[in-house]
């Protein structure tokens, strides 16, 4: 049978970068093709070419044996190609039906919306593919996993045969991800075809029929998920042998560094986001905070670093009360903060690396004498740190905005870890990064723990929390529902806790998995 989709010699250049270099790719009907690659390997560019957001410089796209040109997503959908974006394209205040019919409204008399017909088609689709959803609920009332289903229904409603999933599990709990994989299988069983973009090896092996690996804009290899191992795939992706395990010695916790007691914090809309949280972090240990995005972790970190006022409760670092302290006072007590959103909080994108390296120490010697900045000292420090922390950049005057995500994160890590610190607060330290950068940043965090620094790691990646932490606190709806020793934690157990299942109703596992990080 001829393939349903063929890409021939797709080439896309951006000034100075060859994002796609003569990429050939075929997709058979009824299969899941995984497109595996690090960030910046060219996966997203390739899919944006297919989806009509970019025009290729060379190459052709053949769908169902017909050559097509795609100038916009509308052309792509007309050809039966649909994309489930990483960030959902839904209107929260509209119902499921309204969202699905948006742009392809069925009308009564050419004027009035025919919600009934649309809703009944949605029900049909839900049943056929096992995508349970109530068409009359508002998007804002749905959990993330269900919102993703609505995105899939949107494409099926528009008769898409080829579905592109762009990093679909980034926002899901492990259980939700498993649900999604079931849905994907059911889709291909009924004749749909799927391209699955990811950098997570475990997921690829779990769900794909075939694997193509992209590196530096080229297809560097193909693999069969039946026989391939995670180590092989990782090496293909990165282009060298990769250490997937985080090696660390047993923790030797020392004195208490951070104490949080009964902390309550509002979010921006004045809802209680952190609701009575207490914990402590000791020198030389890593406390991981696990939880699905949006369960109060962001507000917790903001309160700890002085960026958000707390409602009640106490915060103390080595006995110093910091409940009402400013970000600067907290930094001066020896706290480093790797923020959750590196581009929003962590960097000034149009500043050069030099200025970003001293973003919170610019006023102190040797970087300033009185009010005069010492640019030579700043440049010297930046040069050293770029080397020490392996930031890949043409020079220290390059603007932070023109670095890749991994290198941007390394700039932040370099800045935060290059001064004497007692406590490291790392929020989503490796979000969206490639295997190489993740490996590197993890090793730096472990090194700080070894030096006797107290570390708080907040992450929605369960693998990351499991790999790094000595103890794990699980947050759900603003509360720490359980704190477990990582030696006794399994993914399944933590996943249930993250989903809000009461810890009393589940039996903790006898012995945990080996502390292994696999990405």
């Amino acid at each position: 049978m001829p393939p349903i989709l063929e890409l021939h010699g797709i080439t896309k250049r951006f000034p100075g970068v060859l994002a796609n270099d003569h990429i050939d790719l075929t997709l058979q009907q009824g299969e899941i093709l995984a497109l595996l690659g690090e960030n910046g390997a060219g996966k997203s560019t390739l899919m944006n070419v297919l989806y009509g957001l970019y025009q290729p410089d060379e190459g052709e796209i053949i769908v169902k044996e017909k050559k097509i040109t795609v100038h916009s997503p509308n052309d792509a959908i007309a050809a039966g190609v649909g994309m489930v974006h990483q960030h959902f394209m839904l209107v929260p205040v509209l119902t499921v039906t309204e969202n699905v019919m948006l742009g392809v409204e069925s009308l009564i008399g050419g004027v009035f919306l025919d919600r009934k017909t649309a809703a009944s088609r949605i029900r049909e689709i839900s049943q056929q593919y096992g995508l349970e959803v109530n068409p009359d609920t508002y998007i804002k009332d749905l959990p993330v996993g269900i919102q993703q289903r609505v995105e899939i229904i949107k494409l099926l409603y528009r008769h898409a045969d080829i579905l592109i999933f762009d990093e679909p599990t980034a926002v899901l709990t492990p259980q939700e991800a498993d649900e999604l994989f079931k849905v994907m299988r059911s889709l291909v069983q009924q004749g749909k075809s799927i391209i699955f973009i990811t950098h997570k090896l475990r997921e690829v092996l779990a769900v794909a029929d075939r694997i193509n690996v992209l590196r530096l804009g080229q297809v560097v290899g193909a693999a069969d998920p039946q026989t391939a191992t995670e180590n092989e795939l990782a090496s293909l992706m990165v282009g060298r042998a990769v250490e997937l395990k985080v090696h660390k010695l047993a923790a030797t916790p020392g004195a208490e560094v951070l104490r949080v007691s009964d902390l309550r914090v509002f979010d921006d809309r004045e809802n209680l986001a952190v609701d009575g949280v207490s914990f402590e972090v000791r020198a030389g240990e890593i406390l991981g905070v696990a939880g699905v995005q949006g369960n109060g972790q962001t507000e917790l970190v903001e309160a700890l670093t002085g960026l958000r006022a707390s409602l009640s409760g106490q915060l103390a670092i080595e006995g110093h009360e910091i409940t009402r302290a400013s970000p600067r006072q907290i930094v001066e007590l020896g706290v480093a903060h790797i923020p959750e959103d590196r581009q929003r909080d962590g960097l000034v994108l149009n500043y050069p690396i030099t200025d970003n390296m001293v973003l919170n120490t610019y006023y102190r010697p040797p970087f300033a004498r009185g009010v005069v900045m010492q640019h030579l000292a700043v440049e010297k420090a930046a040069t050293e740190r770029v080397q020490q922390f392996d930031v890949r950049t043409p020079g220290i005057q390059t603007s932070a905005g023109s670095l890749s995500g991994g290198n941007q994160q390394k700039v932040i890590v370099a800045r935060e870890l290059s001064r004497p610190i007692k406590l490291l607060i790392a929020a989503q330290p490796t979000r969206g990064l490639d295997v190489g950068s993740i490996e590197y940043i993890h090793s730096r965090i472990i090194a700080k723990r070894k030096e006797g620094c107290a570390v708080l790691v907040v992450s929605t990646e369960l693998d990351e929390v499991l790999a790094l932490s000595d103890r794990i606190a699980v947050m759900y709806r603003g509360r720490v529902v359980a704190t477990v020793d990582s030696a006794h934690a399994t993914k399944e157990y933590l996943g249930l806790l993250m989903a809000g299942v009461s810890p009393d109703s589940i039996k903790p596992p006898e012995k945990g998995e080996e502390a292994t990080a696999v990405f």
Partner: protein, 412 residues
């Protein structure tokens, strides 16, 4: 490695020229479009156009003549007549020299308040503030410095001039402080409040100069203030009619200071960081409110200096509506200069030249000075919408994927 080095040096070269391309082409294009406006508003040309189909040549030559007269007189009025300058230099006669060099010096005189006011708006922009109130702050600066100028008697110029200038800066800064503190404490938008403060400043100056007003000169029927003491006047370098005075060099010095402040001090670093990314500034422990207030007051102080400069260097007293909109023009000027002190100085020289040439253009070519406002507006429009210039001159850059390249440039 060698490749990297050569790439770097060509990068620096580009880095220097790149920002100049769009402004230069914008000015050029604005002059071209302006010439169309000149031709189409010229009565001779319009008359000739009526017979366009029978005698197209006449309309064409009339247009060329109108444009040539207009731009010719603009050039002469702003930079001087080259033939006259050469003749004067050869004769060495002081009167001829004064006449020949008068236009170019007067352009510098007009550029001076533009430099101050342009720096004022630029400092605001750097901190993410849109200071529309430069005009009002300029008025307050003029009021404060004129009062110091005529009230204190018997001071040495070494004391009186700095005193009067500082008073002007203080007046502007005070006027900017009100919207600044409102923004910092209540979030009230500075655009609204600086506009309102403008109105208050205008009406205040009218009242001060009114019949019973405290600044009114008792022995005059006109709404003007007393003349300032000689000791407060900014010295002029040449005999009349050349009005070129110390203010120009003070303006250049202040521009240098602003550059040093913004790019070489920790205070400037904070101010720019708050402007570039307030979230990151907060994360880095900088106080956003403090920086907003500092930036706004500095901005107001610079605008106040523009007013002081006019009073101390040029008019020597305060009259009603003495500013011809320098504060408003300076918004456009700061944009043109990309909020960089050097860019602002260059843009101010351009605006000063255009403004002062416009007067002669009106006298000689009978073309209203408003045409200069149109050309200024066109320059800003082209700078604000660089896509027009890019497509017109087939310049590369900013196409699809510009955002993408920034995040993918140096991946591993």
């Amino acid at each position: 490695m060698t490749q990297a080095v050569s790439a770097k040096s060509s990068l620096n070269w580009q880095k220097f020229l790149q920002p100049l391309v769009i402004p230069a082409l914008s000015i050029f294009t604005a002059l071209i479009v302006g010439s169309l406006v000149i031709a189409l508003t010229d009565l001779t040309v319009l008359e000739a156009l009526k017979n366009f189909f029978t005698a197209p040549g006449a309309a064409f030559s009339a247009s060329v003549k109108a444009i040539a007269t207009a731009y010719g007189s603009l050039f002469e009025g702003s930079l001087g007549n080259p033939a006259q300058i050469i003749a004067a230099l050869q004769s060495g006669e002081s009167k001829a020299l004064a006449n020949a060099f008068y236009p170019i010096f007067d352009s510098l005189v007009t550029a001076t308040p533009y430099i101050f006011a342009g720096l004022a708006v630029a400092v605001g922009f750097r901190c993410g503030l849109f200071n529309i109130g430069a005009e009002g702050q300029l008025y307050m600066g003029a009021i404060f410095s004129v009062w110091v100028g005529f009230t204190f008697k018997g001071l040495s110029p070494w004391v009186h001039i700095p005193f009067a200038l500082l008073a002007g800066a203080l007046g502007g800064a005070l006027w900017a402080f009100v919207p600044a503190i409102l923004k910092a404490k209540t979030g009230a938008h500075e655009v609204i409040n600086t506009i309102m403060m403008n109105y208050i400043a205008f009406r205040l100056s009218e009242w001060l100069l009114s019949d019973k007003g405290p600044l009114k000169r008792p022995d005059s029927a006109n709404p003007i203030s007393p003349f300032i003491e000689k000791s407060a006047e900014l010295p002029r370098f040449f005999p009349d009619p050349i009005r070129f005075h110390l203010g120009f060099f003070i303006a250049l010095g202040v521009a240098l200071f602003v550059y040093w402040f913004l790019f070489k001090t920790t205070l400037g670093f904070e101010l720019r960081t708050v402007g570039a990314n307030p979230n990151a500034a907060k994360y880095a422990g900088m106080s956003i409110t403090r920086n907003l207030v500092i930036a706004m007051c500095l901005s107001g102080g610079l605008a106040g200096l523009a007013g002081a400069n006019e009073v101390l260097g040029l008019n020597h007293n305060l009259a009603l509506s003495f500013s011809s909109g320098y504060g408003f023009d300076s918004i456009a000027l700061a944009l043109l200069g990309k909020s960089h002190p050097l860019g602002v100085v260059l843009a101010a020289l351009l605006f000063g030249t255009l403004r002062s040439g416009a007067t002669r253009m009106q006298n000689v070519a009978k073309i209203p000075t408003d045409i200069i406002s149109i050309i200024q507006a066109l320059i800003i429009a082209f700078i604000a919408a660089p896509a027009i210039i890019r497509s017109l001159y087939r310049l590369k850059g900013a196409g699809e994927g510009e955002g993408t390249i920034f995040t993918r440039g140096w991946g591993k």
